[in-house]
């Protein structure tokens, strides 16, 4: 039997954005009927690669050969017409239009007067969708369908447009386990029909269930490619994170000193059984004063969601948070802040700083209500607080009046930290506090976290930087697919243990993990 035809050959693809080499000399080959896993951590270059393939970006260098011909797509539409369809994480359809119209938009059947033939359209839509396990009234608006069914409609639409390659960007992030099964059977059918599938996901179980081959990207480069079956889970995770197995733990790479120890007291924060549909399945975390608890896991494992659920920014369907023994009203950020829980969000730009305001205004933003009497703010008290924190956190600004947007990433992060510290919190939730800031600033932020814990604050630290997580935390709670799969304490907090727990094939997987994993 002849080997299946090569559908796509990408050679030496590179793309640079100002200051970042997003993709560096990457190759990728796809054959007909191949299901190819594309994996890598945040910033590894996955989405850049997908956007280059689908005409959203133009490559700086390299060739894309599609079905034997070099191509250069100017728009996603061109790529789609040529036969490369993409299904995005967020369903990209039109919620108010009917299911059938969404499926047929742009290629509606018409009668001999040139008018749309709805009877035929609805009949064909129903038939098509039945093949995807979706039985619905296709005349109803798409919005009335569940996310899983919407995803299937998007898939049906992508395939119906005679796609040769279907790219799926985290298609299961909002699906129920049952819907994931349906998706898999559709993917297998696509494979049997000779369509190549690029599958992006962080859920290892899924990758091993459905993918034949794999490409691992890290820092914009391809670091591994080959058959997925030849790579066990642990090697996959270590390749992805860039850590050799059994690599000696290098000392002194972070500025954490470990000079803080949890006082023997009761937990200052206890989160029990936090559940958010599709995202968290009964996560429990507790933090004692003076303790840094790390939250480990791959992208999409529920780390950010856990922090948000604790701080009230993400409504939970069940679960409880108590601060110093007092239950917190769920789903309310102000209540959490009043109780002393502050979240430093992952995305500084969109969820944290106000770039147009000054350093002074950014720092005093949250604390203002506390400094005002009868609605009037005491300028002197604001000044004193702002100056204290500029000094204590070593914020480098020309003056308190400088706009925060003009500061470096590290200093922006410190301003945010100052904003929450001014509130005198009991617990700090830090989501990727050192991402995207330079080495020097990173070390300073790490040192600050240490100092704050030494002062008796409870800290929850989320970081994709393994060293930071291991050296900074007293304890690491490991998440996978929205559930706690393990907890490392004391001497167990090592890279090797952490990676094994993340990969989910540790022999010493404990009872917590057994109980918490779903399906």
């Amino acid at each position: 039997m002849a080997p299946p035809a090569e559908v796509l050959a990408v050679r030496g693809l590179s793309k640079t954005f100002p200051g970042v080499r997003a993709l560096d000399d990457v190759d990728l080959t796809l054959h007909a009927g191949e299901v190819h896993a594309l994996i890598g951590e945040n910033g590894a270059g996955k989405s850049t690669l997908i956007k280059l393939l689908t005409g959203v970006y133009r490559p700086d260098a390299g060739d894309i050969v599609f079905q034997g011909r070099p191509v250069s797509f100017a728009t996603p539409l061109e790529a789609q017409k040529a036969g490369i369809s993409t299904i995005y994480q967020e369903v990209n359809l039109i919620p108010l239009l009917s299911v059938a119209r969404n499926l047929f938009l742009g290629r509606e059947p018409r009668n001999r007067f040139g008018l749309l033939d709805f009877a035929r359209m609805n009949r064909e839509a129903e038939e098509t969708l039945r093949g995807y396990g979706v039985r619905v009234d296709v005349r109803r608006p798409l919005r009335s369908l569940g996310v899983g069914a919407q995803q299937m409609v998007a898939l049906a639409r992508a395939v119906a447009s005679e796609a040769r390659i279907v790219i799926m960007d985290e298609p299961t992030s909002s699906l129920e386990p049952r819907e994931v099964e349906t998706l898999f059977s559709v993917i297998r059918r696509l494979r049997d029909e000779g369509i190549a599938v690029v599958y992006v996901s962080h859920r290892l179980d899924e990758l091993y269930a459905v993918c034949d081959t794999v490409t691992v990207l890290r820092d914009g480069r391809r670091v591994h490619h080959g058959r997925l079956a030849d790579l066990d889970r642990l090697s996959l995770v270590s390749t992805m994170l860039g850590r050799e197995l059994g690599e000696v733990r290098s000392e002194g790479l972070t500025k954490f000193t470990g000079d803080h120890h949890a006082t023997d007291s009761r937990p200052v924060l206890e989160a029990t059984d936090l559940t958010v549909p599709h995202q968290l399945h009964g996560v429990s975390v507790s933090i004692r004063p003076g303790e840094v608890v790390g939250l480990g896991g791959l992208l999409g494992s529920g780390r950010t969601e856990t922090a948000k659920a604790i701080s009230g920014a993400l409504p939970t369907s069940s679960g409880r948070v108590t601060v110093a023994g007092v239950p917190l009203r769920g789903g309310s950020t102000p209540a959490a802040i009043r109780a002393g829980v502050s979240l430093l969000p992952e995305d500084r730009k969109s969820e944290g700083i106000v770039p147009g305001l000054s350093v002074r205004e950014n720092i005093s933003l949250a604390v203002l209500p506390r400094l005002s009497r009868f609605g009037l703010v005491s300028e002197a008290r604001v000044d004193s607080i702002v100056n204290t924190f500029i000094e204590r956190l070593r914020i480098k600004a020309s003056s308190p009046q400088q706009k925060v947007g003009e500061l470096s990433g590290g200093n922006q992060q410190k301003v945010l930290l100052a904003r929450w510290l001014a509130m005198n919190p009991k617990v700090l939730l830090l989501d990727e506090p050192t991402r995207g800031i330079d080495v020097g600033a990173k070390a300073e932020v790490q040192k600050l976290v240490d100092e704050l814990a030494a002062d008796g604050l409870g800290v929850l630290l989320i970081s994709s930087d393994l060293e930071e997580l291991i050296e900074g935390s007293d304890r690491v709670v490991v998440l996978k697919d929205g559930a706690v799969v393990g907890e490392l304490t004391g001497d167990e907090v090592t890279e090797d243990k952490l990676m094994r727990t993340i990969a989910g094939d540790t022999p010493e997987r404990d009872a917590v993990g057994e109980a918490a994993t779903d399906g």
Binding site: P76, L77, Q80, K81, N92, L93, I94, P95, L96, L97, R101, N102, L105, G106, E108, R110, G114, L115, L116, F118, E127, T128, R130, G131, Y132, G133, V134, R135, V136, D137, R143, S144, L145, G146, V147, G148, A149, Q150, M152, R157, V159, A160, E162, R178, E179, E181, T182, S185, V186, R188, R189, D192, E193, P277, S317
Partner: protein, 344 residues
């Protein structure tokens, strides 16, 4: 498209669980909300008309109904174009000025023959619509700003033609144009028949052509529509052009009806048209709407005005107070229904 059904995958839930609660109840209330949103205005129109018929002897008379129909026709034609614009998620504030400009151009052009009198307003107002569309679609400016500029510009142009309103152009009696505006067929004024024909055509275009699908798609989710291959820019340019042409036509017919191009007309008409469209069940945020609803909205506004006139003791200034209050109630109800449908 080949779909082999060798493997029967598990059936995906039909999705009513979106909000995670009672699927049967939410589906029913969704349908009920949709029904109220689409036909609520019609029900109110029927009720108000019935009450008026029994309260005022002069309401349901042939003359009064025919007058109401004719005066509704001009606003309805404007609202038809506005419906398309609003469904794409846009807004057209220039239609009031274009209505006045269209009337003046028709009256001015009538000296050069009926063809010029009819074509001139359509071409000029259509061209301004094209410019609106180009600016909105290509330069990605906010429709509200673009059409506000066109509103000021068009009114300025009209004042220039009429020498600051000092010159009034008349339409000669007995001309074809005058007949079009003033004559009647089967008891209804010609403008009413023209308006009805336009609404039938508009409904067919919106519901049964690809262009119509694109109008809904662009308003429903512009980014998704672009990714799905809908010509977003072309669709937007077309709806603003359509809106301009229809406003010009309405102005021309109105001038024919009045036998002159009156410069002070059309002030605030854009707001009346928007009100009518929204009352008729079209979402101001786009993506959902009905041509028939806009007609009902116009009739409802006119009937209410007429009722206030019938009361007589009420100062006609209160018409606007009542219309404004009514619109506020409708928008609140619309938002509430929309949110209810979105969430459930």
């Amino acid at each position: 498209m080949t779909v082999t059904k060798t493997q029967a995958p598990a059936v995906v839930d039909d999705g009513t669980r979106a909000a995670g609660d009672g699927p049967v109840g939410s589906a029913r209330s969704e349908r009920l909300s949709a029904l109220v949103q689409q036909h609520g205005a019609l029900a109110v129109l029927v009720i108000v008309s019935l009450v008026a018929t029994f309260s005022f002897d002069s309401f349901a008379t042939g003359d009064n109904v025919s007058n109401m129909a004719t005066s509704s026709a001009f606003l309805a034609i404007v609202a038809l174009g506005m419906t398309f614009v609003i469904i794409t998620g846009g807004i057209d504030l220039s239609v009031g000025s274009l209505f006045a400009l269209g009337g003046v151009l028709a009256a001015w052009g009538s000296r050069h023959g009926t063809l010029v009198a009819l074509l001139l307003p359509l071409v000029v107002c259509g061209a301004i619509g094209v410019v609106n569309g180009l600016l909105v679609a290509r330069s990605r400016l906010a429709p509200f700003i673009v059409t506000l500029a066109a509103m000021l510009g068009a009114r300025g142009l009209m004042l220039a033609i009429t020498d600051e309103g000092a010159d009034t152009y008349l339409i000669g009696k007995g001309s074809f144009l005058a007949e079009l505006g003033q004559g009647s067929t089967l008891g209804l004024g010609n403008p009413v028949w023209i308006m009805l024909a336009l609404f039938v055509a508009g409904a067919v275009v919106l519901r049964r052509t690809r262009f119509g699908q694109h109008v809904y798609a662009v308003g429903g989710n512009e980014d998704a529509a672009a990714l799905m291959g809908a010509p977003v820019a072309r669709t937007k340019i077309l709806v603003y052009t359509l809106s301009g042409v229809l406003a010009g036509l309405a102005g021309a017919l109105n001038a024919a009806w009045l036998a002159s191009g009156v410069t002070i007309l059309g002030n605030g008409m854009e707001l009346e048209a928007i009100s009518a469209v929204v009352i008729g069940g079209t979402l101001l945020t786009g993506g959902l709407g009905y041509v028939s609803g806009s007609l009902v909205g116009v009739l409802l506004l006119k009937v209410i005005q007429n009722v206030i006139n019938q009361i007589g003791s009420l100062d006609s200034s209160y018409q606007q107070v009542v219309s404004g209050a009514f619109l506020a109630v409708v928008v609140v109800a619309q938002t509430w229904l929309g949110r209810r449908r979105q969430l459930m």
